[in-house]
C-alpha cells in the first residue's frame, strides 16, 4: 500500500477530490471554448483599434460580445452538466507560444467545474453590467472607449480563470490589472481618479511581484507551468518550497483582492465609473485572489503554514473592512469596505482547506450577485442625485426610486445574512467551517466571523437607513455650497439600468438556496477542490442561531443610531475609533510612513548616487577612453616607415610570445 | 634550445659591438664638421649627378624590362616541360597551353595598348 505508483496516487487524489486535474482534450461542443475568451477580446480589439469609426455602435458591439461570450459559457455549462464527474474537465491546447528546451510556454485553456462557475459569473454579471452601462454612460463622449476597456477586462478575466497554466494565468492577471487601471482612471481629467488609478496599479504591482516569484519557483521546482504538473507534483516537493510558493501566491491574492496589508487601493478605486466598481471591484476581479488560492488548493494543502497565513490575512481583513465600513459616509466607499470585508470571508474560508474551498467559492458567487446589485443600486441613486455620493446628503429616497429601493433592499438583506436569502446560506457555511477547523484557532476564527457578521449588519443597515429612510436631507443646501447649487430631483433610472438590477436581485435572493438545495454546489465543486466535513464543536443550529443574533444585534444598534435619531448632514465629531475608521484605520498613513516616505528617500538617494556615482563613473570612463583614443591615434603618423617599424616590432612580439608560451 | 644558444650569443655580441662603437664614438670623438664630412660618402667620390627633372628612367624602359621578364620566366617553365613532355602527356600539353595562352593574352594587351611602341 505504501508503494503507490505516481499514477495510482494521482487517482487517489482525484477520488479525494484533490488534484482533480485529470482532463481530456476538448472536443465536440467544448471545442468552442476559446470563443469564451476570444469574443470579448475581439470586441476590445475592434473598439480600441477601430477608434472613432466605431463610436456609433461601440456600446452595442461591446455588449453583444459579452452576451456572446455568456452564451458560449452557458453552452459549456450545459455540456458539462451532461457528463460524468470524471469527464467534466477538459483542456484545449491552442498553440505553443515560446518553446525553448524545457521552457514550454503554452497557450492553453482548462475548463472544469471551478472555472465554469467563474465563466458564468464573469460573463453573466459582466453582460448585465454592459447593459447597465449603456444607460449609465449614455452621456459620456468616450462611451465607446469605456466599452472597449470593459471588453478587455472581461477577456483578461476569462483568460485568468481559463488558463491551464500559471504563466498564462499570470498574463490574465496582468491583463485585469491593466483594465482595472484604465477603468479606475477612466475620468482621468479628475486628478483624484488619475491618482487612484495609479495607486491601484502600484499596489497591485506588489502582489503581482508575488505571483511572478511564485511562478518562477514553480518552474524551478516542477520544470513546468501547467496546473497538472505543478499541482500533481505538489505532494512530492519539499515543505519549505510549498510554503514559499503558497506565501507568494497569498501575496498575489492580497494585492488583487485588496486584502490586508495591500487593501488601501480599493476605496480609492471607487473613483471609477460605478459599473466598473460593480463589475471589477466587487463581483469579479477582486475575487481573483480567492480563485488563485482555490485553484492552487494542492499547494496550500501541502503547507499548513501557508494556510494559516491565509486564514490570518482573511480574519484581519474581514474585521478591518467591516470597521472601516461602519464609519464611511461615501456610499461607494462604504460598499468598497464591505467588499474588502466579504472577500476577507472568502480568503479565510479558502485558508481553511478542503472544509472551506467550496464555501469560499459559493460566497464568492452569491457576493457577486448581491454586491454587484448593491453597487448598481448605488449607481442608480447617484444617477438620480446629481452624482452625489455622501449618504449624509441622501435620505428618504425610497419614495422617489422604488425599484432601486427594492433591489437594493434585497441585496442588503442578502448581505447581512437574512434567513433563506443567498448571503445567509453562504456566510453561515463559512462561519460553520471556521468553527469546524477545530482547536483554539477554530474558536478564534469562528468568533471573528461572527463578530464580522454583526458589524456587517450594522454598517449595511446604516447605509440602507441613511439612503432610503429618514429626513430628505438633500433638500437643504449644504454648508459652503456653490452659488449655483440647486436642489436635486431624485428620479428612477431608465430600464437599461433597472433591468440588470432586478436580475441581480433575483440572484441575491435565490442563488444561495439553489446552491445548498441537495448540496448541489458542494457536489459540483468537490471533484476539483476536494471537500471534507470538519468536526463542528456544536450543532449547526447553534451556529446559525448565534449568527442570526449577531445580525439582529448589529441591525438593532444601527436602527437605534440612524433611524431613531436624525442623521446630521455633516459628520459630527466622534470618538477616536470612529475617526480612525473614517480614515480607513490610517491605512494610508501607515503606507505613507512605512513605504512611501522611505521609498522617496531611497529614490532620492539613488538619484544622488546615480548623478554623482554612476554618472560620474560613466562620464569619467568615457572621458578616459576618449583621452586614450586621442593619444593613441597619434601613433598613426601617416609615415609608412613607422608603420613598417610597428609591424616589425609586432612580429618580434608575436614570435617572442609564441616561444614564451612554450616555455611557460 | 642548446642548439641555438651560440647563435643567440653571437647576435648579442654583434648588437653590443654596434651599440658600443656608436656610443664610444659619440662620446670620445671630436665633433668638427665640414662640407666633405657631410657628403653621403665620405671617401670623396661625388654621387652621380642627377639628370635634370628628377633622375628617372623613361617609363618605356620598365615596360620593356617587364616584358622581357615575362617571357624569360615562360622559358624557365618551358624547358623542364619540354624535357618531360613524354611522361606528362596530355596533361602537360593542356596545362602548358593554358599557361602560354595566359602569357599571350598579357602580350596581346601590351601590344594593343601601344606598349611596344617606343614613342
Amino acid at each position: 500500500m505504501i508503494e503507490t505508483s505516481s499514477l495510482a496516487s494521482g487517482v487517489v487524489l482525484a477520488n479525494e477530490g484533490g488534484g482533480g486535474l485529470h482532463s481530456v482534450a476538448a472536443s465536440g461542443a467544448y471545442s468552442a471554448l476559446w470563443l469564451v475568451v476570444g469574443l470579448p477580446l475581439l470586441g476590445a480589439l475592434l473598439l480600441l483599434v477601430g477608434g472613432k469609426r466605431t463610436n456609433a455602435f461601440g456600446h452595442i458591439l461591446g455588449t453583444a460580445m459579452a452576451l456572446g461570450s455568456f452564451a458560449v459559457g452557458v453552452l459549456m455549462f450545459v455540456t458539462m452538466l451532461g457528463k460524468d464527474d470524471a469527464d467534466r474537465s477538459v483542456d484545449q491546447h491552442l498553440w505553443t507560444w515560446a518553446p525553448v528546451n524545457e521552457f514550454q510556454a503554452d497557450i492553453g485553456l482548462h475548463l472544469d467545474q471551478l472555472s465554469v462557475v467563474f465563466v458564468l459569473l464573469i460573463t453573466g454579471v459582466g453582460s448585465l453590467i454592459h447593459i447597465y452601462s449603456i444607460g449609465y454612460m449614455a452621456h459620456d463622449e468616450n462611451r465607446r472607449r469605456f466599452f472597449g476597456y470593459l471588453n478587455l477586462f472581461v477577456a483578461a478575466m476569462l483568460l485568468l480563470v481559463l488558463a491551464n497554466n500559471y504563466l498564462l494565468l499570470y498574463a490574465g492577471w496582468e491583463g485585469v490589472g491593466l483594465a482595472s487601471y484604465l477603468l479606475i482612471g477612466f475620468w482621468q481629467h479628475k486628478p483624484s481618479a488619475a491618482t487612484a488609478a495609479k495607486k491601484a496599479f502600484i499596489m497591485n504591482r506588489v502582489g503581482d511581484f508575488g505571483l511572478a516569484v511564485a511562478v518562477f519557483l514553480m518552474f524551478t521546482t516542477f520544470g513546468s507551468f501547467d496546473f497538472a504538473d505543478v499541482l500533481g507534483g505538489s505532494a512530492s516537493a519539499s515543505d519549505g518550497t510549498m510554503t514559499a510558493i503558497g506565501l507568494m501566491l497569498l501575496l498575489a491574492a492580497c494585492g488583487k483582492s485588496a486584502q490586508f496589508p495591500l487593501q488601501a487601493w480599493l476605496g480609492d478605486a471607487m473613483e471609477g465609473p460605478t459599473p466598473v466598481s460593480a463589475l471589477i471591484h466587487a463581483a469579479t476581479m477582486v475575487t481573483a485572489g480567492v480563485y488563485l488560492i482555490t485553484r492552487s488548493a494542492e499547494i496550500f494543502n501541502a503547507s499548513p503554514d501557508a494556510q494559516l497565513a491565509v486564514t490570518v490575512v482573511g480574519a484581519i481583513t474581514v474585521l478591518f473592512g467591516a470597521i472601516v465600513g461602519c464609519a464611511k459616509d461615501d456610499i461607494k466607499k462604504a460598499l468598497a469596505a464591505s467588499t474588502m470585508s466579504q472577500i476577507g470571508y472568502m480568503i479565510l474560508a479558502a485558508g481553511l482547506g478542503p472544509i472551506g474551498y467550496v464555501f469560499a467559492i459559493m460566497h464568492l458567487v452569491t457576493h457577486g450577485f448581491f454586491k454587484a446589485g448593491l453597487f448598481l443600486g448605488a449607481g442608480s441613486v447617484m444617477h438620480g442625485m446629481n452624482d452625489e455620493v455622501d449618504m449624509r446628503r441622501y435620505g428618504g429616497l425610497r419614495k422617489y426610486m422604488p425599484i432601486t429601493f427594492v433591489t437594493f433592499g434585497l441585496g442588503y438583506l442578502s448581505i447581512i445574512g437574512f434567513p433563506l436569502l443567498s448571503g445567509f446560506f453562504s456566510k453561515d457555511k463559512i462561519i460553520e467551517a471556521a468553527f469546524a477547523k477545530g482547536g483554539t484557532s477554530g474558536w478564534i476564527l469562528g468568533a471573528v466571523t461572527l463578530l464580522a457578521a454583526g458589524l456587517t449588519a450594522f454598517y449595511m443597515t446604516r447605509v440602507m437607513l441613511m439612503t432610503f429612510f429618514g429626513k430628505e436631507r438633500w433638500k437643504e443646501a449644504p454648508a459652503g455650497a456653490p452659488a449655483d447649487w440647486h436642489e436635486p430631483h431624485p428620479h428612477e433610472s431608465p430600464t437599461s439600468m433597472t433591468g440588470p438590477m432586478i436580475l441581480l436581485a433575483f440572484g441575491s435572493v435565490f442563488a444561495g438556496g439553489l446552491f445548498v438545495l441537495n448540496e448541489s454546489f458542494v457536489k459540483w465543486l468537490t471533484p476539483v477542490t476536494g471537500f471534507s466535513h470538519g468536526d463542528l464543536p456544536m450543532s449547526e443550529w447553534a451556529v446559525t442561531g448565534m449568527a442570526l443574533s449577531m445580525v439582529a444585534l448589529g441591525s438593532a444598534v444601527a436602527y437605534v443610531q440612524y433611524a431613531r435619531r436624525d442623521v446630521p448632514a455633516v459628520a459630527p465629531a466622534a470618538s477616536l475609533v470612529t475617526v480612525a475608521a473614517r480614515r480607513d484605520l490610517y491605512q494610508d498613513a501607515v503606507n505613507e510612513g512605512l513605504v512611501m516616505r522611505p521609498g522617496q528617500y531611497l529614490t532620492r538617494l539613488l538619484v544622488w548616487f546615480d548623478n554623482r556615482g554612476v554618472d560620474g563613473f560613466v562620464g569619467g570612463l568615457a572621458a578616459f577612453i576618449g583621452g586614450t583614443s586621442a593619444r593613441v591615434r597619434k601613433v598613426q603618423t601617416g609615415f609608412v616607415r613607422s608603420y613598417a617599424l610597428s609591424m616589425f616590432g609586432g612580429t618580434l612580439l608575436v614570435v617572442a610570445c609564441t616561444l614564451m608560451a612554450r616555455m611557460a | 634550445m642548446n642548439l641555438y644558444a651560440p647563435i643567440l650569443v653571437l647576435g648579442g655580441i654583434a648588437l653590443a659591438f654596434g651599440v658600443v662603437s656608436l656610443v664610444m664614438g659619440a662620446l670620445t670623438g671630436p665633433k668638427r664638421y665640414n662640407r666633405a664630412k657631410l657628403e653621403a660618402y665620405e671617401c670623396g667620390i661625388e654621387p652621380t649627378p642627377q639628370p635634370i627633372g628628377g633622375g628617372r628612367f623613361p617609363v618605356k624602359y620598365y615596360l620593356t624590362a617587364m616584358l622581357f621578364i615575362v617571357f624569360d620566366i615562360e622559358i624557365v617553365f618551358l624547358y623542364p616541360w619540354a624535357v618531360y613532355f613524354d611522361s606528362l602527356g596530355m596533361f602537360g600539353l593542356v596545362e602548358m597551353a593554358m599557361f602560354v595562352a595566359a602569357v599571350f593574352v598579357a602580350y596581346a594587351y601590351l601590344w594593343r595598348r601601344g606598349g611596344l611602341e617606343w614613342d
Binding site: 609591424m647 616589425f648 608575436v654 609564441t658 616561444l659 | 611522361s87 606528362l88
Partner: protein
C-alpha cells in the same frame, strides 16, 4: 648504343608521373580566372566605348556562373560534409572552402555593381581615374577626363583579385596559399591607387599598401620556409602530422607558425599589423574599399582558419595564448581609436579593425562551432561593410564624397532613407539585436565561451559597448543635429548601387531576424578536410 642507353637511363630514372587535376572541382576559381583573362582581351581588342558594357556583363555573368558551380560542388559534398583535396593535395574542396567561396562571389557581385556605378560623378564617369598612368593634376589627365575616358581595367583587376581570394581559403598547402595571397594582393594594390578624386591620397595609399603588403608577404614566406624546415613539407596536412607530436626543440615550428600568422594577421588588419588599414581605406576608391574590407577579410580569415585548424591543431596551446592577446589588443585598439575619428571612411576602417578582433574571437574557439560562427560572422560583416561603404559613395559635395563626419550632420532630416539605411548598418556593426551583427557576435562569443576563452568574451563585450558609442554617435549626428547650410547632397544612384545596398540591407535584416538557416548551413560546412 651506350650513349643512347645512358641518355635513356637518365630520362628513365627521373621519369615523373603526370599530376592530375580535377578541373571540375576547381571550376569556380577557373571560371573567374577565365573571366579575368577575357577581361584583358576585351581591353585589348574592343573599342573603348564598348568595353564598359562588355566588362560588366562578362564579370557579372562569370560570377553568377561561378556561384552556380559552388552550389553544384556543395551539393556533391559527401554526407559527412567532409570534402576532398584536389590538384595533388594543394587545394581543398570542402565545406569551409565552398561556403567562403560562395560568400566571396556574392560580395564580388555586389562589389562589381558598385564599381560599375556611373551616375554619381557630376561630370560623368565612375569612381576611378580616367587615365591611371597620367600624373595627378597633369594636362594629360585633364585631357583624358575631357575625352570621357574610363579605366575599364578595374574589372579584370577585380576579377584577378577575386581569383586569389577564392583560392586563399581553399589553399591546402602553404605555397599555394602564398601564391593566392599574392594574386589577391597585387591587383588590390593597383586598384587602391585609381581613385578619380584625391589622386595623390589614393596613390599614397596604394604605395603604402604595396610596401607594407610586400613586407608582410616576406614574413609569410619566411615562416613557410621555417615550417618546411621543420616538417619537410609545405602541405598543411603533413605539417599537421609533424606538429602533432612536437615536443622539444621545435623553435623552427614555433617561429614559423608565428611568422605565417603575422602574414595572415596583416591581411585581416589585426593590431599591431593594422596601421595600413585606415590610410588605405581612406585613400582607395570607395567601391574598392568596400570590396577590400569585405572580401579580403573573408578570404584571409578562411586561410587563417585552415592554417590553424588543419596544420596546427596539435599546437593550439602554443598559439592560442598569443592569438588571444592579439584578439584582445585588436578589439581594444580598434574600438578606442575609432572614437576620435572624424572621417567616415577612417571610422569604418577602425571599426573593421575592431571587427577583425571579434572574428578572431570565434576562430580561437578551436571547435566546429568556432568555424561555423566565424563563417557566419564573415557573411554578416561582409554585407554590412559593403553596404556601409556603398552609402558613403552617395553622400557628396563639390569635391566628391563628403567623408568628414561634420558633413553628415542632419543627414537624417534631408535624406531619411539613406540615413536610415546607414543607421541600420551602424546598428548591425554595433551588434544590436534584430540585425545580423547581433547574431554574428552572439555566435562567436558563444563559441569562444564554450571553447574556454571566457576572458576574450568579456573583453569582446566591453569593446562592443565602447564601439556602440561611436556608431550611435554617428546616428545621433545624422538624426539629431541641425543640417549644415552648405552640406552635402545625397545623389540618387543607378539601379546597380541601389541593388548592392538593398542586398546589404536584406542580408542584415534577414540574418538578424532569421539567422537559423544560414547558421545551419555554416554548421554543416564547418568541417575542414584533412
Amino acid at each position: 648504343m651506350s650513349m643512347s642507353t645512358a641518355a635513356t637511363a637518365t630520362l628513365a630514372v627521373t621519369k615523373v608521373d603526370a599530376p592530375t587535376i580535377e578541373y571540375g572541382k576547381l571550376s569556380p576559381i577557373l571560371i573567374i580566372a577565365g573571366v579575368a583573362v577575357v577581361g584583358v582581351l576585351i581591353e585589348a581588342f574592343l573599342p573603348r566605348p564598348a568595353r564598359y558594357r562588355a566588362q560588366l556583363t562578362v564579370a557579372l555573368v562569370g560570377m553568377i556562373a561561378a556561384f552556380g558551380a559552388v552550389v553544384w560542388l556543395a551539393r556533391d559534398l559527401p554526407d559527412d560534409h567532409r570534402g576532398s583535396v584536389t590538384a595533388m593535395g594543394a587545394v581543398a574542396v570542402d565545406g569551409p572552402s565552398l561556403f567562403l567561396q560562395g560568400t566571396l562571389l556574392l560580395i564580388g557581385i555586389a562589389s562589381v555593381l558598385l564599381i560599375g556605378e556611373r551616375r554619381l560623378e557630376p561630370a560623368g564617369g565612375d569612381a576611378f581615374a580616367p587615365q591611371a598612368a597620367a600624373a595627378p593634376g597633369s594636362q594629360q589627365e585633364k585631357d583624358a577626363a575631357a575625352a570621357g575616358w574610363t579605366q575599364t581595367e578595374v574589372y579584370p583587376l577585380t576579377m584577378f583579385s577575386l581569383v586569389g581570394m577564392l583560392l586563399f581559403p581553399a589553399a591546402n598547402d602553404l605555397l599555394m596559399m602564398f601564391v593566392a595571397l599574392e594574386i589577391l594582393s597585387l591587383p588590390l594594390y593597383l586598384l587602391c591607387g585609381l581613385a578619380r578624386r584625391h589622386r595623390l591620397l589614393s596613390q599614397e595609399a596604394a604605395l603604402k599598401y604595396f610596401l607594407l603588403g610586400a613586407f608582410s608577404s616576406a614574413f609569410f614566406l619566411f615562416g613557410v620556409a621555417m615550417l618546411y624546415g621543420y616538417s619537410g613539407s609545405v602541405s598543411l596536412d603533413k605539417i599537421g602530422v609533424a606538429s602533432a607530436g612536437a615536443m622539444d626543440n621545435d623553435a623552427l615550428l614555433l617561429i614559423g607558425l608565428a611568422m605565417v600568422a603575422v602574414g595572415l594577421l596583416f591581411k585581416v588588419g589585426a593590431v599591431p599589423f593594422h596601421s595600413w588599414t585606415p590610410d588605405v581605406y581612406q585613400g582607395a576608391p570607395t567601391p574598392i574599399t568596400g570590396f577590400m574590407a569585405a572580401a579580403t577579410k573573408v578570404a584571409a580569415f578562411g586561410a587563417m582558419m585552415r592554417f590553424f585548424y588543419v596544420a596546427l591543431p596539435g599546437m593550439r596551446w602554443d598559439w592560442r595564448p598569443v592569438m588571444i592577446g592579439v584578439a584582445i589588443v585588436t578589439m581594444v585598439a580598434g574600438a578606442i581609436i575609432a572614437i576620435t575619428q572624424t572621417d567616415v571612411k577612417r571610422l569604418l576602417a577602425y571599426s573593421s579593425i575592431a571587427h577583425a578582433g571579434f572574428i578572431l574571437t570565434g576562430m580561437i574557439a578551436m571547435s566546429d562551432a568556432g568555424v561555423s560562427s566565424t563563417m557566419f560572422y564573415l557573411v554578416a560583416y561582409g554585407f554590412v561593410t559593403l553596404g556601409a561603404f556603398a552609402v558613403v559613395t552617395l553622400v557628396r559635395d563639390a569635391r566628391g564624397e563628403a567623408t568628414h563626419l561634420s558633413h553628415w550632420a542632419g543627414l537624417g532630416r534631408r535624406s531619411p532613407l539613406v540615413a536610415g539605411v546607414f543607421a541600420l548598418f551602424l546598428l548591425a556593426f554595433a551588434g544590436i539585436p534584430l540585425t545580423s551583427g547581433f547574431s554574428g557576435k552572439f555566435a562567436v562569443f558563444q563559441a569562444a565561451a564554450r571553447g574556454g576563452a571566457g576572458s576574450l568574451v568579456v573583453v569582446g563585450v566591453l569593446c562592443s559597448a565602447v564601439a556602440a558609442f561611436f556608431y550611435v554617435r554617428v546616428i545621433v549626428l545624422m538624426f539629431f543635429s541641425e543640417p549644415k547650410v552648405d552640406g552635402p547632397t545625397v545623389v540618387v544612384p543607378s539601379v546597380m548601387t541601389t541593388a548592392a545596398i538593398a542586398l546589404g540591407v536584406a542580408v542584415t535584416v534577414v540574418l538578424g531576424i532569421l539567422p537559423q538557416p544560414v547558421l545551419d548551413l555554416a554548421d554543416k560546412a564547418a568541417l575542414f578536410v584533412h
